[in-house]
C-alpha cells in the first residue's frame, strides 16, 4: 500500500521571497537606527556632509568592525570572547619589538613581514588557547576568555616593560594611514574580511558546522560535526582579527601602548555584534550585521562628540541607543 503525505501544502520547492523578507525584517532595527542617525547628523552636526567625515569615520570604525566580525563568529558558537582587547594589545606590542629589532633594521622587507606575521600568529595562538579552554576543558566562555583578558595585557606590558613604544615606520603605518581610491586602507581591509567571512559562513562546510554547533552542539556532534575544531577555529579567527585590529591601532598612532590598546574593545565589539543581529545563545552569524552594528556604535560616538555632549551624558545616550536598537529588533522578530 502506498500512502501519500497529507496534501494541501506544497512540499519541497523553494520560496525565496519569504526568506528575503524575513532577513530584512531582522535587520530592520539596525537599519532604522542607522538612518535616524544619518538624518540627525545631516541636519544638526556641523560639516557632517563632508568627505573628510567619511574618512574619519571609516578609519575609526574599521577596528571595531573587524573585531566585531570575529566576535560574531564566536557568539555564533554560543560563546563570547572577552580577551579581544588584550589580544590587540599583545599583537600591537609585538610588532614594534620586531621591526625595531636589529634583524629587521638589516632586512627591512623581511622584518616588516615578520612584524605583521608573527604578532598575528601569536594572536591566533591566543585564540587557540581560548578555544581549547572552551571546547576541550569545557570551561564556560566568559571565564575561559577572562584568563587572557586579565593576563594577556599583562604579558604585553611585560614584553615592553610597560613602556610606550614609539616609532617611525611609514611602511608599517600604511596599515592605519594608507589610502586606496581615496578611502582609508583599513576600511577596505574590513570590507575584504567581511566578504571573505560572509562566504565562509554561507558557503563553506566550516560555516555550516559553526552554526550547527551554536544551534545544538549535541546534535552537531552526533551528526559527525567536528565540534572541537569548529570552536577552536572560531576563537582563533576572532583572535586573529583582533590581532589585525591591534596592529592597525599601533600603525595609526605610530606608537604602541600596551596598557591602552584595545581597552574596552570587548564591550564595543559585543554590542556591535548584538546590535547587528547576533544571538548570544548561538546559531546565527550575521557578518554584515556586525559591520552595521559597528557603524551604528561609531556614529553614535561621533554624533555625541561632534555635538559637544559631555562624556558622562554620552554614556547614557549610548546605553539608550543600544537598548533601543536591540529592542526594535526583538519586536520585529515576533
Amino acid at each position: 500500500m502506498t500512502m501519500t503525505p497529507a496534501t494541501g501544502k506544497k512540499a519541497g520547492g523553494t520560496m525565496p521571497a519569504r526568506g528575503i523578507l524575513f532577513r530584512n525584517l531582522r535587520h530592520h532595527g539596525g537599519i532604522v537606527a542607522l538612518i535616524v542617525l544619518l538624518v540627525f547628523n545631516a541636519l544638526f552636526t556641523p560639516n557632517f556632509l563632508h568627505l573628510q567625515t567619511l574618512f574619519v569615520n571609516i578609519s575609526q570604525v574599521a577596528t571595531i568592525a573587524i573585531v566585531a566580525m570575529g566576535m560574531t563568529l564566536v557568539i555564533a558558537t554560543g560563546g563570547i570572547d572577552l580577551s579581544v582587547g588584550a589580544v590587540m594589545a599583545l599583537a600591537g606590542a609585538l610588532a614594534p619589538l620586531i621591526f625595531q629589532s636589529e634583524f629587521a633594521m638589516a632586512y627591512p622587507v623581511l622584518g616588516l613581514t615578520a612584524a605583521i606575521a608573527l604578532p598575528l600568529a601569536v594572536a591566533a595562538i591566543c585564540g587557540v588557547f581560548n578555544g581549547a579552554m572552551v571546547s576541550i576543558l569545557r570551561v564556560q566562555p566568559i571565564i575561559a576568555t577572562l584568563i587572557l583578558f586579565i593576563s594577556g595585557r599583562g604579558i604585553a606590558q611585560v614584553l615592553t616593560n610597560g613602556n610606550l613604544q614609539t616609532f617611525k615606520n611609514p611602511a608599517f603605518s600604511y596599515l592605519g594611514t594608507g589610502k586606496i581610491l581615496g578611502l582609508p586602507f583599513q576600511g577596505w581591509l574590513a570590507l575584504a574580511i567581511a566578504v571573505l567571512l560572509y562566504w565562509v559562513v554561507r558557503r563553506t562546510t566550516f560555516g555550516r558546522y559553526l552554526l550547527a554547533v551554536g544551534g545544538n552542539e549535541q546534535a552537531a556532534r552526533l551528526s559527525g560535526g567536528p565540534v572541537r575544531s569548529v570552536k577552536i577555529g572560531a576563537y582563533m579567527i576572532c583572535a586573529f582579527l583582533s590581532g589585525i585590529a591591534g596592529l592597525i591601532v599601533v600603525a595609526i598612532n605610530s606608537a604602541s601602548d600596551a596598557a591602552r590598546n584595545g581597552n574596552l574593545m570587548e564591550l564595543d565589539a559585543i554590542a556591535a555584534a548584538v546590535v547587528g543581529g547576533a544571538l548570544l545563545q548561538g546559531g546565527r552569524a550575521p557578518i554584515f550585521g556586525a559591520i552595521l552594528g559597528a557603524i551604528i556604535i561609531q556614529l553614535v560616538k561621533y554624533t555625541l562628540l561632534a555635538n559637544g555632549i559631555q562624556d558622562e551624558v554620552a554614556l547614557i545616550a549610548k546605553a539608550l541607543i543600544i537598548v533601543l536598537a536591540v529592542y526594535v529588533q526583538q519586536t520585529r522578530k515576533e
Binding site: 610597560g162 613602556n163 614609539t166 598612532n253 601602548d257 561621533y302
Partner: protein, 301 residues
C-alpha cells in the same frame, strides 16, 4: 598629638602604593622609586591599585600589616584615600603624599601626614594658558580642549587652571572640551571628530602630552599643519612632546616630572633627622618650549 616620629636607620621598609600603571608617566614614577631604593637604603614594597582608589586603600592596609616604616602614597583620589592616610597614622607610620594630595579639609599635612610632595595641577593649567596668550599670533583663538580621564583630579584641575584664565579673555573661546582619557589613541580619535565639527580651530590644549601627540596626528591626517595653522599646547614634558616641539609641531609643554624617587628620599631623611618639613614641598615645574627643548630631551622619559 603630633606626627609619628621616624627613627634614623640604615635601611627602611618603605611602602609605595602606586595607583595605576596604565600610562608612561606612572610607569616612570614607579621606576624612579625602584631606582632610588638601593641608594637610599629602602626595602621597597611597591603595590599597584590598577586604577581603583578602594584597592589602593586595601594595598596600604596590607603594607601596614607587613609593618612598613614609611609610606609614600600618590593618592588616586582626594577623598577616598583619606582612610589610608588615617590608618597609617594610627599605625604610627609617617606618610608622604606624592604628586597628588588629599582633601585638606579632613586630612592635614603636619598633622595626619607629613607633607605633600608635588606640583600644582591648577597652576600647570594656568601656566599653559598664560604662555598661550603670549604666544598666540592670531586674533581670535578658537580652542579645542582634550581633557584627561573624566572625573580624575588632574583633569579637573588642569581644566580649571586653564579655563579660568581663558574666561577672562574675550578673544579666546573654548568651542569644544571632550575627554581623551589621557591616551594617545583616544586623543587622536576625539581630535579627528572635533576637527570635523570645528574646522576653524587654531589652538589645541591637551591635558597631557600623550593626547597632544594624538591630536597632532589627527591634524596631520586631516591635512592640517600643527605648529603653523594650529597651536598645540600641553602638560608633562615627555620625550615625544619635546621632539614635537623641536619639530615645530607643538608650542609648549609644562613639565610635570614623574621622578619623585630622589626627592622622596631626601625629604624622608630630613624628617628622620628631625627637621621640620614644609607642608607642601612644591616641585618646581619647568616649562619646555622651542628654546630649551633640545637640551632637555635626553633627560626626558
Amino acid at each position: 598629638d603630633g606626627l609619628p616620629p621616624l627613627e634614623q636607620k640604615d635601611t627602611y621598609t618603605v611602602g609605595f602604593a602606586q595607583m595605576e600603571s596604565n600610562n608612561p608617566w606612572r610607569i616612570a614614577e614607579t621606576k624612579s622609586f625602584h631606582d632610588t631604593a638601593e641608594s637610599c637604603g629602602w626595602n621597597l614594597i611597591a603595590t599597584d591599585a590598577a586604577g581603583s582608589a578602594a584597592k589602593q586603600v586595601a594595598d596600604v592596609d596590607s603594607m601596614i600589616a607587613q609593618g612598613i616604616d614609611v609610606l609614600f602614597l600618590p593618592p588616586r583620589e582626594e577623598k577616598p584615600l583619606i582612610p589610608a592616610v588615617m590608618k597609617a597614622r594610627a599605625a604610627g607610620i609617617p606618610t608622604f603624599l606624592i604628586d597628588r594630595s588629599v582633601d585638606p579639609a579632613v586630612a592635614k599635612p603636619g598633622e595626619h601626614f607629613v607633607s605633600f610632595l608635588g606640583s600644582d595641577f591648577i597652576d600647570q593649567g594656568r601656566r599653559v594658558a598664560e604662555w598661550t596668550l603670549e604666544n598666540f599670533e592670531g586674533e581670535q583663538g578658537i580652542i579645542v580642549e582634550l581633557e584627561g580621564t573624566t572625573g580624575s583630579s588632574p583633569a579637573n584641575d588642569r581644566r580649571k587652571g586653564f579655563d579660568d584664565v581663558m574666561a577672562q579673555h574675550d578673544n579666546m573661546t573654548i568651542v569644544a572640551s571632550q575627554t581623551g582619557d589621557f591616551a594617545r589613541d583616544m586623543g587622536r580619535q576625539v581630535m579627528e571628530t572635533l576637527l570635523q565639527a570645528h574646522p576653524d580651530v587654531n589652538i589645541v590644549y591637551a591635558h597631557n602630552d600623550e593626547m597632544a601627540i594624538g591630536a597632532i596626528q589627527a591634524l596631520e591626517l586631516a591635512g592640517r599643519k600643527p605648529g603653523e595653522d594650529v597651536l598645540v599646547v600641553s602638560i608633562d614634558g615627555t620625550r615625544d612632546a619635546l621632539q614635537a616641539i623641536i619639530d615645530g609641531k607643538m608650542g609648549v609643554t609644562v613639565e610635570s616630572s614623574p621622578f619623585f624617587g630622589p626627592l622622596a628620599c631626601e625629604v624622608m631623611n630630613k624628617y628622620a633627622a628631625g627637621e621640620t618639613i614644609e607642608p607642601w614641598v612644591q616641585v618646581q615645574d619647568r616649562i619646555f618650549t622651542v628654546d630649551n627643548a633640545a637640551e632637555n630631551i635626553d633627560a626626558a622619559y
